[in-house]
């Protein structure tokens, strides 16, 4: 588990921000493309545990706010709130359950999209459009969570693999 304030982490955040902001649209499928910053929060929750997820979520949210050009702090707040819930879920979940990481990542990404939709456009949109956007969030969540194994592999390589079993043993 790396120190959060380190060149390695800051550089990784920047790379993910650039990937999310510029490169990933090249991989879109029907206007849906994945978000590595959200996957990084999931990765932090799964590999590093509770305290660090919130920090990662904060910086990821802030970067998303800066990338998006909207109100700074909105995504950061939502993601930090969701990261707290994610931490809680990860502590309670059965890790041996097949596909559990995929399901949790899917739920996290979907909730991030849905929550943002709710906060930004609540009451302003016709219901049909809301359903359409929710479907798009679900597709984004599916696409993003499908990349979790790849992201795990890359991030483990970047930061060095941490043994989850040993971590749990001394918890």
């Amino acid at each position: 588990m790396p120190r959060l304030v380190s060149a390695k982490v800051i550089l990784y955040f920047l790379v993910l921000a650039v990937l999310d902001g510029t490169v990933m649209p090249a991989f879109q499928i029907h206007a849906v493309y994945p978000s590595f910053l959200l996957l990084f929060i999931c990765y932090a929750a799964f590999q590093w545990g509770a305290p660090k997820t919130v920090y990662v979520a904060f910086w990821a949210g802030l970067l998303r706010d800066l990338l998006g050009g909207g109100l700074i702090g909105l995504d950061a707040t939502l993601l930090v709130a969701l990261a707290l819930a994610l931490d809680f879920l990860v502590q309670k979940m059965e890790r041996q359950l097949p596909g559990i990481y995929f399901v949790v990542a899917f739920l996290f990404v979907f909730c991030a999209g849905a929550l943002r939709l709710l906060v930004c456009y609540a009451g302003e949109m016709p219901p049909s459009l809301v359903w359409s956007y929710l479907a798009m969030s679900a597709m984004t969540a599916l696409y993003t969570s499908a990349l979790l194994p790849l992201f795990n592999f890359i991030t483990n390589g970047w930061f060095g693999h941490a043994s989850t079993k040993q971590y749990e043993l001394f918890r």
Binding site: L14, A17, V18, L19, G21, T22, V23, P25, A26, F27, A50, P51, V54, Y55, F58, G61, L62, L66, G69, L71, I72, G73, L74, A76, T77, V80, A81, L84, D87
Partner: protein, 266 residues
């Protein structure tokens, strides 16, 4: 205490959110600074994206081309099949034109029929025609092609008819040599040659002379070309000359023929 630190951390973005909401100009300034600082990274990212787009669309085009290749191949096969049919129709058209040109100067009415079958016995030259009594075909109607006499109708069914061609061993036609005016009987021998039997010993028949129908009998009209004399010899009993005749009609290539509608007295 450490656990609560996470919750305290939630306060930081909330405060930032409230602050930026309260001061929109500050929000814009931060965005502007971030965009300026991050610009080189985004330029690099954009060029990467262009590369990925290129790869994606090129591979898409490649896959599209691979997919279309199968479609085009099947289309080529289909068109080649059509081409073969069209060529065949073209040849048929030429044959029919020739047949039509031949039938126009004939003084009699004709019925065009198609050869649709042949006798399986190698030496038998009986063909099946695609018209019958329902199309006014009658027994003993004369069958001709532009090259000359082909045979006659042997049997008539409602929708088909059988015609016996000159090379059939059972075929007999009264004939006349065009120059020497020697009379004889043209008989088939089951090969691509015909025999002209019962020529008088003193007949001055020459090789290469045309042989036509004599008009004797009630079936064949006079003057239809049968072929050319190829060789002459005495027959086995020595009482007559026997000529070998090369038929003018290509019997192995018959596809369409004309049946002459003649009045009984003719």
């Amino acid at each position: 205490m450490r656990r609560w630190r996470s919750y305290y951390f939630l306060a930081v973005p909330v405060i930032a959110l409230i602050a930026f909401f309260q001061y929109p100009r500050f929000n814009e300034s931060v965005h502007s600074i971030f965009s300026t600082l991050a610009r080189p990274a985004f330029v690099l990212g954009a060029s990467l994206r262009e590369g990925f787009y290129t790869v994606r669309y090129q591979s898409g085009n490649f896959l599209d081309a691979v997919g279309k290749q199968k479609e085009y191949l099947s289309r080529i096969q289909e068109l080649e099949g059509q081409l073969i049919r069209f060529r065949e129709m073209d040849r048929e058209n030429l044959r029919l034109k020739k047949l039509l040109n031949f039938s126009l100067p004939l003084a009699t009415r004709t019925i065009g029929v198609r050869v649709i079958g042949e006798d399986v016995t190698p030496w038998k030259k009986v063909v099946l025609l695609d018209k019958g009594s329902r199309h006014n075909l009658k027994k003993d109607m004369v069958v001709v092609v532009p090259e000359g006499l082909a045979g006659r109708i042997l049997e008539v069914e409602p929708y088909t008819a059988h015609a016996i061609l000159l090379p059939d061993p059972d075929s007999r036609v009264s004939a006349l040599t065009a120059t020497s005016r020697a009379q004889g009987i043209i008989a088939g021998i089951g090969t691509d040659k015909l025999q002209m039997k019962y020529l008088a010993l003193d007949a001055e028949v020459e090789i290469g002379e045309d042989v036509t129908t004599s008009g004797v009998g009630s079936i064949f009209p006079k003057g239809l070309l049968i072929g050319k004399i190829e060789s002459i010899e005495r027959d086995n009993d020595g009482l007559h000359l026997l000529a070998l005749v090369k038929p003018s009609v290509p019997f192995s290539k018959l596809e369409e023929v004309l049946c002459l509608v003649l009045s009984p007295q003719k």
